[in-house]
């Protein structure tokens, strides 16, 4: 049995399950808990609503709708739903009976809640009416009082021009109602939402041509509309107008604009009576309302207890029937036939699950598992754990590995944080990053439960990547001897300064990394630049060569022996002849002591030659190396040979494979084999044209026609890409140097500009300055150097993996294994 590893994706098998109809539901439930099979759709030409179990799914949809209704009600009443505790595996329906009971229960609850809501709403409406009425009475009293006080004015103003009208009346009988009555002033009172007040006023004014007297008062307390639950602000208004016609018109306009009219008695005593009556009614209603509310609340609390459990059960059941819709039904043997992919290693677990399901349902007919032979490409399944998942996701974001292809995820675990650290190398920053990541790792149990912040969730899911990045940064920081841009002096320096000398004398070798004496020296930048640039090229060539080597694993695994000879070897030679040689010369140059002098004080090895020029002149003047630029004897000849080999590699890569393939193809043809006929598709049409005659064709074989031209073009592109890619990719690795330089410079500038000047100060002022400078320095370190620079280094490391490393061997054309699993389904739903 093959071992599962990160190196290649899991071996998969296409399996067929025969599940007796009566145990189908529990069996699928068991498989869903297991989560190891990706089922294939066996009825792709059947419409969604014509499938076998649509009725059940609809039933669960309906139940889910009820549950959503409960959920909405609970949120409205601010009752928290009890979260799921314990294993979600234990929550599932055991029998059809249980589902029926649950449905009944839910419907019963829903009926009760709806009923209570209805009565609550009616009560609230009445309550609302009463409150509005009370406001109208209270507020209009003010209007009427005002009217009374103005009574004299009104009368006086009417006395003169319209005297006859009033003369008949008894003027001594001067209550305001009579006055109103005598003036034939009718009035309309009501309540309208404040937003509509302006429109209302305008329309009234226009409709009545200004013949009205309108007063309004704002109600302080906002009023809730029982139907929509919106909180509205309302106004009480009273309109006086003259004549029945106008009053009718006002009533009509008010009603159409959504105002509620409340008739008010014109007699003040009646009004007062009304008010007291209404106030007492409101109190009575209030207690009824409170009661209803409490009953409803208890009911809802009862629901809140179980809501999540019900939701889980129903989601699971729905998923089960959705899956069963993918199956074929064999009516002769009364069983369902399912097909799907599963990891070959897990046959035992699946068999066990099938047996469990059969036993639990008490059936005597077992389900049968069959392995099918197939030419179809299986999905890619790579087992990951919480540590490797982040790294694998980096790879999957580029492309999911082809089935059983070498998976770069394995190497990414080390190379990714390493390349990151080369750019981010700083002991102190590495410590901070590690500490942050360690915190996330140690508290992961707590954080796992619920992270609402998206950005934080991203960091959290990458916590192990960050941890490794931090650790590697500590390492590279030690090598660069940088800690917040300052040197660390763990050991005595290998250089000694003499009092009156501008040069330091070497007295030993610093045990690890760059000697702290370099820091602050004039040629520090020249030294580190040269060192980091060369290091970048060396790392790049190593990683790319490694990538080319990995192709061999793919070629041998997929039995493409030809590709090893026609592609791997020329590619490797090309790479090594040019850039491998460059690496060789870099190391050679490092290992020569250019300061060594002979007895006459002359330099033994001459001046050090520039490697860049060497590489350029290697192509421009093959075989010729100027005497002063020589690194070693016979260099011209070696370089000439290397160029020859590299040049031979180009046609080798380009031509061998297509021509050998063509020869083989011709040999097969001459032996009398032919491609099968082209009509290898199965066409199935529905006999009855009810489904609109949907024609579905399924590819039975995938035979590629041999086309020499196409292969040649493909190979041509591939060769050009590789040869040019070698050059540009090597150059691309120089980003390691650039980013590392930028990081070091930025952190040293930050140090020099903020914290350093305050260190020399003393006294209280110095302390204050130090504190301010320290906060500034620390926050800038975190936000600019750690977060922004870290992100930039992360992206560059990502690019080096995706483009420079992966394109050497990785196809990434697979599709991901998506098993039918309750855990995944429930997680998606959240």
């Amino acid at each position: 049995m093959p071992y599962s590893s990160l190196f290649r994706s899991e071996e998969m098998s296409l399996i067929q399950l025969y599940i007796p109809q009566e145990t189908a539901q529990p069996t699928v439930a068991e498989l869903g808990e297991l989560g190891l099979i990706q089922f294939r759709d066996l009825n792709p030409d059947v419409n969604a609503f014509q499938r076998a179990f649509v009725k059940e799914i609809r039933r669960f949809d309906e139940m889910e709708r009820h549950l959503r209704f409960f959920d909405a009600q609970l949120t409205k009443s601010d009752i928290p739903v009890r979260p799921l505790t314990g294993d979600i595996r234990t929550i599932h329906a055991r029998s059809a009976q249980e589902i029926d009971d649950l449905e009944e229960k839910i419907i019963e609850h829903e009926r009760r809640i709806t009923q209570m809501n209805d009565s609550y709403e009616t009560l609230q409406k009445q309550y609302l009416k009463l409150t509005e009425m009370r406001y109208v009475l209270q507020e209009t009293r003010v209007f009427f009082d005002e009217a009374t006080s103005r009574q004299d004015n009104i009368r006086n103003s009417f006395d003169e021009p319209t005297a006859p009208l009033l003369e008949q009346q008894d003027l001594e009988h001067g209550s305001e109602s009579l006055v109103l009555h005598h003036l034939n002033l009718g009035f309309v009172t009501g309540v309208i939402s404040r937003a509509k007040m302006q429109t209302f006023e305008r329309i009234l004014w226009r409709a009545l041509r200004g013949n009205l007297y309108l007063k309004y008062v704002e109600i302080d307390e906002p009023i809730t509309d029982p139907e929509t639950d919106e909180v509205l602000e309302k106004n009480v208004f009273i309109i006086f107008a003259h004549g029945k016609e106008l009053i009718n018109k006002i009533t009509k306009i008010s009603e159409s604009l959504g105002a509620t009219l409340y008739p008010v008695d014109s007699d003040p005593n009646d009004r007062d009576n009304n008010l007291t009556e209404i106030t007492s009614q409101i109190e009575a209603r209030n207690s009824v309302l409170q009661n209803t509310k409490n009953v409803r609340r208890t009911e809802l609390i009862k629901i809140a207890e179980d809501l999540n459990i019900w939701m889980t059960i129903i989601k699971k059941e729905k998923a089960i029937y959705h899956t069963m819709n993918l199956f074929n039904y064999d009516s002769g043997r009364k069983c369902l036939i399912a097909e799907g992919w599963c990891p070959s290693n897990d046959f035992d677990k699946i068999n066990q699950a099938l047996r469990n399901a059969t036993e639990q349902s008490g059936s005597t007919v077992p389900s049968i598992l069959n392995e099918l032979r197939t030419t179809k490409e299986p999905p890619t399944f790579i087992r990951v754990n919480k540590f490797t998942v982040g790294f694998q996701e980096i790879v999957d974001a580029y492309g999911v590995a082809k089935y059983r292809e070498v998976n770069p995820g394995l190497f990414t675990i080390i190379t990714f944080p390493f390349l990151f650290a080369v750019m981010f190398g700083d002991f102190g920053h590495g410590m901070l990053v590690t500490a942050a990541a360690l915190y996330l790792v140690i508290r992961e149990k707590k954080f796992e439960k619920g992270i609402s912040d998206e950005i934080f969730a991203t960091f959290f899911s990458g916590r192990y990547i960050i941890l490794l990045m931090g650790l590697f940064s500590i390492y590279t920081g030690l090598i660069y001897n940088d800690c917040f841009s300052l040197p660390l002096r763990f050991f005595p320096s290998g250089f000694q300064w003499h009092d009156n000398q501008t040069d330091a004398q070497q007295i030993g070798v610093y045990p690890i990394g760059i000697d702290p004496a370099w820091h602050g020296s004039d040629n520090f930048l020249i030294f580190t630049n040269s060192y980091k640039m060369k290091m970048s090229v060396i790392l790049g060539v190593i990683q790319m060569s490694f990538g080319i080597v990995l192709t061999v694993y793919n070629y041998t695994y997929f039995k493409k022996r030809l590709s090893i000879w026609a592609e791997f070897i020329p590619q490797m030679l090309f790479m090594q002849c040019i850039f491998g040689y460059l690496v060789f010369t870099i190391i050679l140059k490092w290992s020569i002591n250019w300061n060594e002098r002979d007895n006459n004080g002359e330099l033994v090895h001459g001046t050090p030659p520039g490697l860049l020029n060497m590489l350029i002149y290697m192509f421009l003047q093959p075989g010729v190396v100027a005497e002063e630029d020589k690194l070693y004897p016979g260099q011209g000849f070696v370089q000439f040979m290397l160029i020859c080999i590299a040049l031979i590699c180009v046609p080798w890569m380009l031509l061998t494979k297509p021509f050998i393939m063509r020869r083989d193809h011709k040999k097969i043809r001459s032996q009398g084999y032919h491609n099968p006929q082209m009509d290898t598709t199965r066409v199935s049409t529905d006999e009855d044209n009810e489904h609109g005659g949907a024609v579905v064709a399924e590819e039975m074989f995938e035979v590629e026609e041999f086309d020499f031209g196409e292969i040649m073009i493909h190979q041509c592109i591939h060769t050009i890409e590789f040869c040019l890619g070698c050059i540009s990719n090597t150059a691309s690795y120089l980003r390691l140097w650039a980013l590392s330089l930028a990081h070091a410079q930025l952190s040293s500038v930050l140090w020099d500009m903020t914290l350093k000047p305050t260190l020399g100060m003393s006294g209280v002022l110095g302390t204050i300055a130090f504190i301010i400078a320290f906060t500034l320095w620390f926050s800038l370190t975190v936000f600019i150097l750690l977060l922004m620079e870290g992100l930039s280094a992360f992206l560059h490391a990502l690019r080096l993996h995706w483009v420079e490393f992966n394109n050497k061997f990785y196809e990434g054309t697979g599709r991901k294994f998506q098993p039918f699993s309750f855990t995944l389904i429930l997680k998606d739903g959240d």
Partner: protein, 353 residues
């Protein structure tokens, strides 16, 4: 030049509308919809399209009217999103689109009031795109002057109202009011589009001219055997379109369907409307039951579809609204056919894509 600057203000919205357009149901969707046995099946099928879960919280069995209402709501939401993000002059162009709905709502309300229907019920039936604040007060008015002075004076429709020649509100006059308003609206909108010019002007005048011609033909046909005199009829024709002016003069004198046919057939584009033997515009073979209205709709869909062939213009906003409306009509038709068991007529929808 307009292509150069178009995207500064309107590029985002054009992208959005093109996205909405790609969500319009195609033939395969309709094929699936027409196979449904019940409205619940229809709901399931629609949930697989861009309509998504718009019916998920409706208790089954659902009614065809609920589907219609929810689908319209979705369209209105989309339109409002576009309107809220629009800058001038696109915002004004979009406002113009809503005026047509306002006219419909006004007419609906005054007709309802005439028949003494409940105002709230009427308000619910109004199209949400044509709602304006003072609309409910329409039911108070008893004649046109009052209508204008009380309510319409502050709406964008006010200038159109000034052109109405009748005053009393009765059955016949309501039709006259409707058509006069629409005539004024079309002419105004046409002028506006011409002022915008460019591709917008070109495409919109094509569409609006057809709209005007369609109204002209409809007015003519509907006015047979009514009290409407020929002169009055001619006054209701919008003064634009391919039929203007010669066609209008002839149509004003027509008094049976054959006359109309004879007049209209002079224009090649319009010949298929009255020719039952020809194929429809969309290319699909017409069934025998296609009415004149269906043919108009088909041609309208065809014109609207053409607008998507060009870029950097406003006509796609108009076209999107109209196509989506047609789609909702189609869904309603299918839903009604299913609920009333009239499966044989179910294919009389107008396919869009």
């Amino acid at each position: 030049m307009e292509a150069l600057y178009f995207n500064v203000n309107d590029g985002y919205l054009e992208g959005i509308v093109r996205g909405y357009k790609s969500a319009i149901l195609n033939t395969t969707h309709y094929l699936n919809l027409t196979q449904c046995e019940t409205l619940d099946d229809l709901k399931l099928q629609l949930s697989a399209t861009d309509y998504g879960n718009f019916l998920a919280n409706e208790p089954s069995p659902i009614a065809a009217s609920t589907i219609h209402e929810k689908a319209t709501q979705k369209l209105v939401d989309e339109f409002k999103y576009v309107r809220n993000n629009a800058m001038a002059p696109l915002s004004q162009f979009l406002d113009y689109l809503t005026y047509a709905y306002m006219i419909d709502n006004v007419i609906l309300l005054i007709t309802g009031t005439l028949h003494e229907r409940d105002t709230n019920e009427l308000l619910e039936r109004c199209h949400p795109l044509g709602v304006f604040d003072t609309m409910p007060a329409l039911c108070v008015a008893t004649n046109v002057t009052e209508l204008y002075e009380t309510v319409m004076v502050e709406t964008p429709l006010a200038p159109y109202f000034q052109k109405i020649s009748v005053n009393d509100i009765d059955e016949l006059n309501i039709e006259i009011i409707r058509n006069t308003l629409y005539k004024a609206y079309l002419e105004d909108f046409y002028d506006y589009c011409k002022r915008i010019g460019g591709v917008t002007g070109e495409l919109m005048s094509e569409i609006l001219e057809f709209e005007a011609d369609r109204r002209t033909i409809n007015i003519t046909i509907n006015s047979f055997d009514t009290e409407l005199s020929r002169d009055d009829r001619a006054k209701l024709f919008p003064n634009l379109g391919k039929l203007y002016p010669e066609g209008h003069m002839k149509l004003a004198r027509a008094d049976c369907l054959d006359h109309v046919k004879a007049v209209v057939e002079v224009w090649v584009e319009y010949r298929p409307f009255f020719d039952t033997t020809l194929n429809s515009f969309g290319g699909a073979a017409t069934s025998e039951a296609k009415t004149l209205d269906d043919r108009f709709f088909e041609y309208e869909v065809h014109l609207n579809k053409l607008t998507f062939q060009q870029q950097f213009h406003y006509a796609i906003f108009y076209a999107f609204l109209k196509l989506k409306e047609q789609e909702i009509r189609n869904i309603l038709w299918i839903a009604e056919c299913i609920s009333q068991g009239q499966k044989e007529k179910i294919n009389n929808y107008i396919a869009i894509f």
